[in-house]
Symmetry: C2
Subunit: 393 residues, 2 copies
């Protein structure tokens, strides 16, 4: 017989999941009701309304896809891309790479604009490619590259996309709820995210929004969407009020959780939330820099939600992460793909973005560093963080 | 500002979700740990071991897909079916229809064997089609048709499939955990289910198992799986011990819940569990028959987990369901597709399959029936159920 599962105590400062508020855990454990129960349909309405606020959009098609963030990515792409369609994809990390792979699995032609990991894509690169290429169905960009910590500007991309009649698809997995994502103002046509990052909700849902321009592209498809599960023309029938046709059974408990997480976000208010993420990331980066760890992205392109620092070859990065986890119960992330063994990825997302967490992590890193010899003077990192806090407030 | 969500009290006797045990709700609300945390990888190992037991298989590839039951269906089909492949699909309800639709979205050719809804597919029909058709990649059947309550025999299908080198794909969404699903003994190559039916876990995961024969078909694909999210050649890298490569973030809380649900199932034991489902369904059917409601499927093909009865035209079926929900807090299901307005679908699945629930539902139906005039004598349904219990034990 299996024993009851007892979770170890963890401070979640990796690339996700982030800390989940006890209120969200409690909401998730609410007794189930049917997925077509009038009371549950109200839960869906509430979630849609709050997601619109978060995405800063009036898009009627604003839902939570029944899957994790990658399901949101797949839903965004498979509904738009048909065989033969050309899609320009900004590739500067794992998630841009994944976007291009999904475009190709739809039979689309992925035109990759590649820059070194950690860098961002310049609007001129997109413009130049759009001008050189034949018709392009969409341009897909990752707002917050979870694998590199790079913060991709989105607003400058919209005009050039519209000028070439290409849709703008944006991955906001590690940004939504932690920094501004202005779907309507920036002219984003398709935007998706995930719950386990800056929304501080368990993984299992992917917020997704499409504007009318994108929906009309979906409606004019020559062939049906290759995915039945992610076909938004079917999913819309369930999420649209006064319709509510059965498509698949919604993950009810996850929607309870998301509703409560969105309620907590509304209570804090977006400007205060964004400022909190900004301040804590500045303090943590000051401390990490004092420890001799340099951020991977250039100074103007560093995400406040996910900090990616290069680990010097003199530090055994895997051993440090193992010590953090085993001795201190702190999870941070290692590198993915070509950055494996070379970087740390530290998430300060949602409930995880607190002053206490910043200080606790820096102190633990400093202690490990002193014992391992790559830190000489105790307290430098905490001092730098304290200074950043005093300046930032 | 949104209020806290307060769920109404519901007795879940519809086609799913079923009642979730408080222990499962509590497990689901456990604090999150990372999806690559060694402790979480143990949770995955436990889930895999218990799912193998439930599927009665030694298949190493036995996992939970990160989506609801329909995601399991899509994962099963998209990994096997390539453009141009012929697949025989038994179509006797909504879910067979859906299987055929997904085959076609893969570019496959769905050869539908259609029988009236509520009936089952005879092995001779499959054999005859296999003999007449050219090469057939797979035969897909729904073990438990949630839309009709029909119980499809699977065991007789395997030999004929193997003789024609076709894989056998089985939908066990409304059977797994409520009645025997003998993957290895019956020669099933691909089998999937859902958590919110007889496992009495919230919706959000789809158990899936493939044997070596099916995995070798996946390995020999000419083109990559059209879905990146459901590509089991990638997913396997995460679920395989000593590998655990990141694919997508697992829905951690859902896996906590599933682990606890599987633990409860192990405590009861499968034979006792199946006997419980059998007994309660007999009693409920006796009571429903006493109320003048006839089961849709023929006598030998009635599921113990989902009872589907024809509602006479003299009864306003929608009004009765509304009364059940509003006055008694009881959810039962209406008809889907061509059965809309014509049947009731009553689930007695997992924690919902209890004597108390059977008696409560019958009493409520009788009370509504007396007030509406379609029941004349009080107590007939309860009496019939009591007799069935006394005989059945």
């Amino acid at each position: 017989m299996m024993e009851e599962f007892c979770a170890p105590r963890r401070l979640l400062l990796g690339p996700g999941p982030s800390t989940v508020h006890p209120r969200v855990l409690q909401a998730m454990s609410t007794s189930l009701i049917g997925h077509l129960d009038p009371s549950f349909l109200n839960v869906m309405n509430d979630v849609q309304a709050r997601l619109r606020h978060l995405f800063a959009t009036v898009n009627r098609f604003t839902i939570a896809v029944s899957g994790t963030g990658s399901a949101g990515m797949e839903a965004a792409v498979v509904n738009i891309v048909e065989p033969g369609d050309a899609v320009i994809v900004g590739v500067n990390g794992v998630f841009g790479t994944r976007l291009a792979a999904i475009v190709e699995r739809c039979g689309g032609k992925a035109i990759r604009i590649e820059v070194p990991w950690g860098q961002i894509i310049e609007p001129t690169m997109i413009e130049e490619r759009l001008r050189r290429s034949g018709p392009v169905k969409a341009v897909a960009l990752v707002h917050a590259e979870t694998s590199t910590g790079a913060w991709q500007p989105i607003e400058p991309m919209s005009a050039v996309c519209r000028a070439h009649d290409a849709l703008l698809i944006v991955d906001a997995v590690t940004s939504l709820g932690g920094l501004p994502v202005e779907v309507d103002q920036w002219g984003i046509d398709v935007c998706y995210s995930a719950t386990q990052k800056c929304l501080s909700c368990p993984p299992g849902l992917a917020p997704l929004t499409l504007n009318e321009r994108a929906l009309s592209v979906v409606q004019r498809r020559r062939v049906p969407c290759q995915s039945w599960y992610f076909d938004i023309s079917l999913i819309a029938d369930y999420w649209t009020e006064h319709n509510r046709a059965y498509h698949h059974t919604a993950p009810i408990s996850m929607l309870y959780a998301l509703r409560e997480a969105l309620r907590i976000i509304a209570e804090e208010g977006l400007p205060a939330r964004f400022a909190r993420h900004h301040l804590n990331s500045r303090a943590l980066m000051a401390g990490l820099t004092a420890l001799g760890l340099d951020p991977l992205p250039p100074v103007d392109s560093r995400l406040p939600t996910l900090l990616c620092v290069t680990v010097p070859a003199s530090i055994d990065e895997g051993a440090v992460r193992a010590q953090l986890l085993e001795r201190f119960g702190i999870e941070i992330g290692g590198g993915l793909g070509q950055l494996k063994g070379k970087v740390w990825r530290i998430g300060l997302m949602g409930e995880s973005s607190t002053e206490a967490n910043v200080l606790t992590l820096l102190n633990a890193l400093e202690e490990i560093g002193i014992q391992s010899g790559w830190v000489s003077t105790p307290g430098m990192a905490l001092q730098a963080a304290a200074y950043a806090y005093s300046v930032g407030r």
